[in-house]
């Protein structure tokens, strides 16, 4: 083989290990998830696993809570992340330090974050200590009780907003860095307020980053389970937690796979919705 031929093949040789690895551990299990979900016990195809999934008493609450959490958490996260990103871009002193601090939760696991917020919300926790010290409560209130679904949800929302805002912040900072300074200076010349600048200049130009961040956060939010387990125990259940329970407690990988397939379909649908809803004006005219 000539050296030129060899040269042309080099990049493919370098990619080959990654491609093989992703085929075996990404593409294959993805297909296998659906196969398992539609597989009957004795062989052959069936919808039984999906029927078992839907008939399970925990299914409706898990489905509802998962969607509700996403609907509440994502706007909160994006508001927080945008604030942090604008602060990072505001050329403050110590902005390196602020970036480090804002990025810390990126390296914190779901489970650890859940435990942290459990320590705050638990009966003899920090929140009750503060509230009684301030005289708002005269004795500790049991926030994390099975009867207080509202408080359980609230605690999970805070934990998730605390943990997973960093990633959105990083994506938005990168997006902000790509906005040419002239645009903002032009806005200044025309006397735009900060509010105008955010809504009329920054957010429209940030649309590609917002799209990526929204898709990512939503897909990851469908997979949340350890936060809820750590904060609320069995008080709140989510789709991913049900997948885990069907696999680990009931030892039924087929129904667990049905949950996994559902999560996958929901992820794909939400991705398509974001791609369509946030398409650029040129695309919209098409």
């Amino acid at each position: 083989m000539s050296t030129r031929r060899l040269q042309a093949l080099t990049p493919y040789a370098l990619l080959l290990p990654s491609v093989i690895f992703l085929l075996v551990f990404f593409a294959y299990p993805m297909v296998e998830a659906f196969t398992l979900a539609f597989r009957a016990e004795g062989g052959g195809w069936t919808l039984d696993n999906f029927q078992t999934m839907i008939r399970d008493v925990a299914f409706a609450p898990a489905f509802r809570t998962t969607l509700l959490l996403i609907l509440i958490i994502i706007p909160v996260q994006f508001a927080l992340a945008l604030t942090m990103a604008l602060l990072i871009q505001a050329k403050l002193k110590f902005s390196g330090l602020f970036l480090y601090i804002y990025a810390i939760p990126l390296g914190i696991s779901e489970l650890a974050a859940g435990i942290v917020w459990f320590a705050i919300f638990t009966e003899r926790g920090y929140l009750n200590t503060v509230l009684t010290a301030l005289g708002i409560l005269d004795k500790p209130f049991i926030f994390l009780s099975y009867q207080n679904t509202g408080w359980l949800l609230f605690a999970v929302v805070l934990a998730e907003a605390w943990r997973a805002t960093s990633i959105v912040m990083v994506i938005l900072v990168a997006g902000l860095q790509s906005i040419p300074n002239e645009f903002l200076e032009a806005a200044d010349v025309f006397g735009a307020t900060l509010w105008d600048k955010v809504w009329r200049v920054i957010l429209p130009l940030l649309r590609p980053s917002l799209q990526v961040a929204l898709i990512l956060r939503t897909i990851l939010a469908f997979q949340v389970f350890a936060v809820a387990l750590a904060v609320a125990g069995r008080g709140i259940t989510l789709l991913a937690a049900e997948a885990y329970r069907w696999y680990n407690t009931y030892r039924d990988p087929n129904v667990a796979a049905a949950f996994a397939a559902l999560i996958m379909v929901l992820s794909i649908v939400s991705t398509i919705l974001y791609l369509w809803g946030l398409r650029t004006p040129e695309e919209q005219t098409l």
């Binding site: 992703l22 551990f25 993805m30 804002y102 942290v116 200590t129 605390w162 980053s209 990512l216």
Partner: protein
């Protein structure tokens, strides 16, 4: 007129700093509080009102956690899985990153897009079928198969970060080395690799944290060889408060150090927008 303007500017600048500090507190305060719980005596954890300082400072709770059944072994498993993951993903991913950074070839953009889209790794979807496959293949409940899963999880990140690291090493230097008689491989080993080393180190650190934190696949794919998060999760509802708080702090502590080294490279990981 002029002076009132500067005064206003000072005030608004002050407010911006205040907001930045409030945001920092929002992140740091919960970490501080779990730290207080982890470094107080065990009995202090049950005390009410809850002290906001470790009084007295004590490692008793941490020691109790680390000496609890299975914890030491699970920490070992976690570290082994994370080390295998970072070695494998660097070994497999760095060449791909180099190819994307240095070569122009057909299919490059397709591959990049593929890698970018696998960043949102659907771990819940993949773990269950993989568990079934691992049982069939006789590889279930092993730190090695979990490491394979974590490598798949880490690979897109490794490829993206290494490609941006290699792209930042000037190509001219490599070409200069080649005109001086180095082969392409030698030029890479002697010139590009040393320059890329800090970035590669950041990539491996990120991979380590990813694997250290991962819990869903860990709890599905292991039974006796639990990693730390998998162990803590399975005993969570029967474990005493000091165990949980010490465990929570122990699991998040690495992130405090790692982010210090990784933060510069975060934008390479998440910044590149595909469009």
């Amino acid at each position: 007129m002029k002076s009132s303007n500067t005064f206003l500017r000072y005030v608004s600048r002050g407010l911006v700093y205040l907001l930045a500090i409030l945001m920092a507190l929002w992140v740091l305060l919960p970490i501080y509080l779990i730290g207080v719980a982890a470094f107080s005596e065990q009995l202090a954890v049950y005390k009410y009102p809850r002290p906001f300082f470790p009084s007295p400072f004590s490692t008793e709770t941490m020691v109790f956690f680390l000496k609890s059944t299975g914890v030491a072994a699970s920490v070992r498993s976690s570290v082994v899985v994370a080390l295998i993951t970072l070695s494998l993903s660097t070994l497999i991913g760095a060449p791909a990153g180099y190819a994307i950074a240095r070569f122009v070839f057909r299919g490059r953009e397709t591959f990049r897009l593929l890698v970018v889209s696998t960043r949102a790794f659907p771990i819940v979807i993949l773990s269950i079928p993989l568990a079934v496959s691992f049982i069939e293949w006789g590889m279930y409940d092993s730190v090695y198969s979990l490491a394979l899963m974590h490598t798949a999880l880490a690979l897109p990140f490794t490829i993206l970060i290494t490609s941006s690291v290699f792209a930042s090493v000037p190509r001219d230097l490599e070409e200069a080395a080649m005109t001086l008689g180095c082969s392409q491989l030698q030029a890479f080993v002697r010139v590009s690799l040393p320059l890329a080393l800090p970035g590669l180190a950041a990539a491996t650190l990120f991979t380590f944290v990813l694997s250290w934190n991962e819990v869903f696949a860990a709890v599905i794919l292991t039974v006796r060889n639990r990693t730390l998060p998998a162990l803590v999760l399975t005993v969570l509802d029967v474990s005493p408060l000091p165990y949980r708080f010490a465990g929570g702090f122990f699991m998040l502590a690495p992130s405090l150090i790692f982010m210090l080294f990784i933060r510069k490279y975060l934008f390479n990981l998440w910044g590149k927008v595909t469009k």
